[in-house]
Amino acid sequence: MENDKLLISHAPHIWGGFSTNKIMFIVVFALLFPTAAAIYFFGLYAIYIILTSIATAVLSEFVIKKLRKKRFIMDGSAVVTGLLLALTLPPRIPLWMVVIGAFFAIAVVKEAFGGLGYNIFNPALAGRAFLSVSFPNEMTSWIIPPHFNYDAITGATPLNDNFTYYADKLSLYKDLFFGNRGGSLGETSVMLILIGAAILLVLRIIDWKIPVIYIGVVALGSLLMGKDVLFQVMAGGLMIGAFFMATDYVTSPVTWKGRIIFTVGVGILTVLMRNFSNMPEGVCFSILIMNAFVPLIDKYVRIKPFGFIRKKKNA
């Protein structure tokens, strides 16, 4: 037999082909729905914010990979980070702030820790947190969707203390569901977020347990606090946080048990922050705080292997 050079590699020799790139592509696709809402409600400027954020994220990753003398792979994770960050920003934020936020998210939160897979905190949320600490004024200046300019809505984000709504409850829920309200770029339309989330759930990209438990805990907490449950669930960044942020693979636990602990923690923190802190919103910080616990959860929460028998005492 004439032998060309034979190669060797590890078993298995076939691969499912469901790559990181594909996952990131699907996430970006799912995010296009809330993105569409952002553009629809907040106009052309939303596109500028989104493109600036994505471009900065990808470029920073490229530069830092070169500085670290590592191979740059266009795996799409920087695109996801950039897009997610943009969707959490207020609709009229100056573009230079977007650049700072995206750079911080990639350079400090992701690459400084070792790149994709090694970051402790969700880069997009950490970028947002950095911006809201650095520029508290700009980060809380909300506008009402320009072409829905009618009297019912005030300029504040719905969870703010001075939010007032003049029409009846049903139209409030309707506005929240369809996105006719103030807020961050991507968090306004619950409907479009749910469509994007449905794609991720159907394709099994995200674990259904995380959003379901998160939203469930917040609903229960709000009920106990005597708040309007539906309003609490639909207002603010809970929806986009539950489906797109808390489910981030890297910064959530790997076992189902760990995921439940993590998500319950996020839910409780969100309820506490919404009710007892001086911030109107708690989703971002509660996810970030629980992110810090993920390595600990992954270390101590393991699953029982097949054939595991608990050792009897004195046996």
């Binding site: 190669l7 897979g117 790997v254 029982k304 097949f306």
Partner: protein, 453 residues
Amino acid sequence: MNIVIKKKRAFKGLSLPENKITAKKPIEILPVPDKVVIPLQQSLGAPCQFIVEKGDVVKTGQKIADSQSYVTAPIHASISGKVTRVIKVVNPVTSTMMDSIIIESDGEDNWVELKKLFDIKKSDDFPGLKKIIDSIDRKEIIKKIREAGIVGLGGATFPTHVKLNPPQDKKIDTLILNGCECEPFITSDHRVMLEHGREVLMGLYIISKILSPQNIYIAIENNKEDAIIHMEKLVEEMGLASIFKIIMLESRYPMGAEKTLIKTITGRTVPIGGLPMDVGVIMNNVATSKSVYEAVIEGKPMIDRVVTVTGAIETPKNLLVRLGTTIDHLIDSCGKKESGANYIIIGGPMMGISIVNTDFPVTKGMNCILVRKSRVPVEQNCINCGRCVNICPMKLMPLAYVRYVKGGDFEVCREYYIENCIECGCCSYVCPANIPIVGYIKTGKNQLLKVID
């Protein structure tokens, strides 16, 4: 109907592209090769010593290596001729050196005299055969199986006489014949069931005489419907329908793995570090069962086996080959490799081992030679997605092994039960980052073994 359909399974499993391109191709007998290379270690347990020397003339079926040790299987000459050299070959599976001998054929294929218990021509006469089997002593059968050098042919190569002789305190109530063949591409067991079903069933009957279990199951995946129907017909014909039960299982990888199959069929869980006999089960591969028949009834030692040669090659085939035939020879007999086909794998695509040297011979545990075009994996960072944890049939956390083996913390791997891994490859298959997880696991296991030594 004697077929039980099991829809539930004990694990999530993968549905793989089957690629069983040789499923309809009858077993071809490969002509006796000019030379064979026979390595000393072909089973788990102690290595054998040669009982022939360079220059000796041997006959086909003559014992050429044996050991005093209990857990081992003797080795026989697979062709007749002259022992020309004693050499060392590298075992690609364990990467260790093995002593081997080369026998050059005299072209005559002279057999040693086989002690037949029964006229093979009359092998249709099952009742007559049954009487003979019933009359042989249990110990005598086990001795015959040992002398014939039979090992588990599913790949693990555990000596069969040891398996069939469990310690007194282990009550065996279930015997499972494993005809799942869940790996893609491989069809050798499938063909054996179709063409030698009678021998397989008689082998199973002999094994059942040794163990006298209450339940005897024949497990076959539903992608081999013809085999299921054929076996059902034979069971009926042979009058064994009251004791043999055929179980049709969903075609799902790794259905044929011992522990998952036992759990799926009996609902019992083999404990970590335990053997199937700990839960009262003994499992045998169909090809092993056939060899048991040949050894006990025909007196024929283990000198050949069916190997599927498949993949990117001109004419894929199922071949009955003498042990010791080089892989080179097998591939040549199936025509040209397709251009760019530069991977040669011993075993299936999920668990097989790729080799650089095709001088290696066919050994007892080899069921497939797979030729494939290259796939260059680019390993990316683990993103903690948990797909490997989700899919693992042993419910382990494969990603932890990657992390700790990379960091050199092999002891920590043991806390995650690394030795419980069956190396089925599901984790690597689903890994989006294309990490060769099984490779890391094997490294970790080897390092831990060294630590113990």
